[in-house]
Symmetry: C2
Subunit: 417 residues, 2 copies
């Protein structure tokens, strides 16, 4: 029997995580399925940022580095993120952008590979990895004399051989939502003598990640997607403690120095993950990021990430089933198997993916388009309801049946998609 | 005849730049001589940041990348900064930290040197350059097989020889306030076949800088000092147009790609300075930085940077003369010649520099200590008055004469100095 709107409302009524939605300042009537691109604003953030600006900066001024604990922000926010990705306290710092952090950890991984396994020349990654990851890898490969080898997801294991120095992957694919088995691929990489670098951009805060359990080598992730840190929020970086102190990373700025305020020439790296800091921390952005991370940690009394993940799986399954039943024009581009799918559902259409997404946005259902043919819908279990998934599917059906995507204004490309 | 407080008040009454002070939310009664470490809060910033958080992020959500022009922030703020440093429109972008940007431009400079003058192995810098600059140079030298050679300021010219690939200097020294002659040193470096990289951290917004006029090669600078961008504000980066498109810089993230939203593998660098962008721009921080830069641009109707510089010179000269006359225990550590001094005045004391600074702060006069022996006082002409310089000198005299620095609480070191 097909699901009705009342069935969806009944699921929401039973949802133990429902109270978490009240943490967010969601615009009335909007169904926001783009938290995987920019998470929504937590209610606490505006007040906290204002406090940092007017009280800590405006009144405390330079003294706030001590009195307001600005120096502790990067490790404190890092420790909070650590709880979401299976890392220990003191193992994560929040800083810089995902791209910059990838440069740091991939540099470190290549240095370790050169030292421990000098013959290996390859960085192996997925052809459809997020482009910035591939660009950074391409650049480092060129600088260091490595070769970047790209493969389709299913072919990755056969590239884990004696030529592979580093396997660099995004845990959940940004276009399809396909999720790699981090533990299995890390095991396979290690068996082949290679190291692993994981980008958790589409994982942290949405799916259960266990970096320590998987014995991963390095990881980075994004602050503005499921962590709700705000546009361009700082990213984070983790190094397995067994590697953290082996090397400098090349962005050897003063905040990664053992004693930055001694102002001594000669770089002495700080212990542990702190050496992955570089310049002065972006205090306003870090304060906003902390509020965002706190919205995810607020799920801990409700079962934490396993509970969030269970709801996310139920939401994406429901949406995928509804759309497949009602929109035969679209092809499911995300895995059907729950355990291989991240917190998003994507459909493909060879011609009209872009205007359909625009027409949906005009109806108040925000997903996004990913070139060339993907309609992408992210489901953040912290603030989305089953009725949102239901209504979104019906809007999509209406856009297609009524051919709303034909309107000229939906066919003009925006600069940012 | 020694200057009196009334003389100082008379100077303020005649100061055509005096109205610019009203742009700032200065705590009542505070004499803030640390704008070279963290500029004060512009009145406009709190409101603007709140607008970005609650309206642009909170309501506009992902659509604000287009509707609120978030993608244009980095070049727009860059263009504004360009007007302060003698660069052209489209030549500067605001992004990342000073340290990260130094890594980009020094990498580019070393690549150019390797290509155009392959035998040169040396990066020459000043021994007392700001440590993070030396750490980044040390790291890059190690990676690329260069040698970092440090010299005292007066000895720099003799190191400009056929071994020198890059001369990397901070225009105004962070400890002493000594200002290099950018045009002369750039000319000397070019005559010797070397490139120049200038760090404008203590210059931008405070002293007249003419990057184009000096024919400098690369420059970076800080957003949170004289540009009043807030704690950890993004930094900026400039490349001489003749170099900008010659190479990738190694932090080849997606925002530096020619078409980031085509999501194509294979890095194609954007034209001009845009290729010096890396990850997603930190929108909250960039919005705050723009408000800060606007406070400096607001001086344009009053004569702009030349007028600000003239006031800065008068303020620092007044303070230096007053302190030298009244505090014989302290040795002037900044140049006496106006044209060799940046916008700060430093004094040295071998034993009590730290507690004297702390005692002054307790009196509401905020300078800072720089290890091991420097008392540092920055003068931001946008918001400081002659009476502030006068009163600060008298407070300093009182701290010394009354030996307030002996109090135990002033002798306990804070984490951040």
């Amino acid at each position: 029997m097909p699901m009705t709107r009342n069935d969806a409302l009944a699921l929401d009524a039973q949802d133990p995580l429902a109270p978490l939605r009240a943490q967010f300042a969601l615009p009335e009537g909007l169904i926001y399925l783009d938290g995987n691109s920019l998470g929504v604003l937590p209610r606490r953030t505006a007040e906290r940022v204002q406090e940092v600006v007017t009280a800590e900066w405006g009144v405390g001024l330079i003294g706030s580095w001590n009195s307001a604990g600005w120096m502790q922000l990067a490790p404190r926010v890092g420790d909070k993120i650590a709880r979401l990705v299976g890392a220990g306290a003191g193992e994560v710092v929040a800083a810089d952008s995902t791209s910059v952090n990838l440069f740091k950890v991939l540099s470190a991984a290549l240095t370790i590979a050169r030292t421990d396994a000098p013959g290996r020349q390859r960085i192996v990654s997925e052809r459809s990895n997020f482009p910035t990851d591939l660009y950074i890898a391409e650049s480092l490969a060129r600088e260091r004399g490595f070769e970047l080898v790209l493969a389709d997801a299913d072919e990755l294991p056969q590239h884990l051989d004696s030529r592979c120095a580093v396997l660099m992957l995004t845990h959940v694919n940004y276009r399809t939502g396909r999720m790699h088995d981090m533990a299995a691929l890390t095991r396979a990489a290690h068996s082949a003598g290679a190291l692993t670098v994981w980008d958790l951009a589409h994982s942290a805060g949405a799916v259960a990640v266990d970096l320590r359990g998987a014995d991963a080598d390095f990881a980075i992730g994004c602050g503005y997607k499921y962590l709700n840190g705000g546009p361009g929020a700082p990213a984070f970086v983790w190094a397995n403690p067994k590697h953290a102190e082996r090397f400098w990373q090349p962005l050897a700025g003063w905040m990664g120095h053992a004693a930055p305020f001694e102002f001594t020439p000669g770089y002495r790296p700080a212990p542990g993950i702190s050496r992955y800091l570089c310049g002065t921390p972006a205090v306003l952005s870090l304060a906003a990021l902390e509020c965002g991370v706190d919205t995810v940690l607020a799920a801990e009394p409700y079962g934490g990430l396993p509970a969030l993940r269970a709801k996310s799986v139920a939401l994406t399954r429901l949406f995928a089933e509804l759309v497949e039943a009602r929109c035969p024009q679209l092809a499911l581009a995300s895995p059907r198997e729950d355990d291989r799918r991240g917190s998003q559902v994507c459909f493909a259409h060879p011609d009209i993916a872009y205007p359909v997404v625009r027409a949906l946005i005009a109806r108040g259902v925000v997903g996004d388009f990913r070139a060339p043919d993907i309609l992408r819908f992210g489901f953040t279990p912290l603030y989305l309801r089953f009725v949102d998934a239901f209504d979104a599917a019906l809007h999509l059906q209406a856009v297609l049946e009524q051919e709303e995507w034909r309107r000229p204004e939906f066919n003009q490309r925006e600069a940012v998609t």
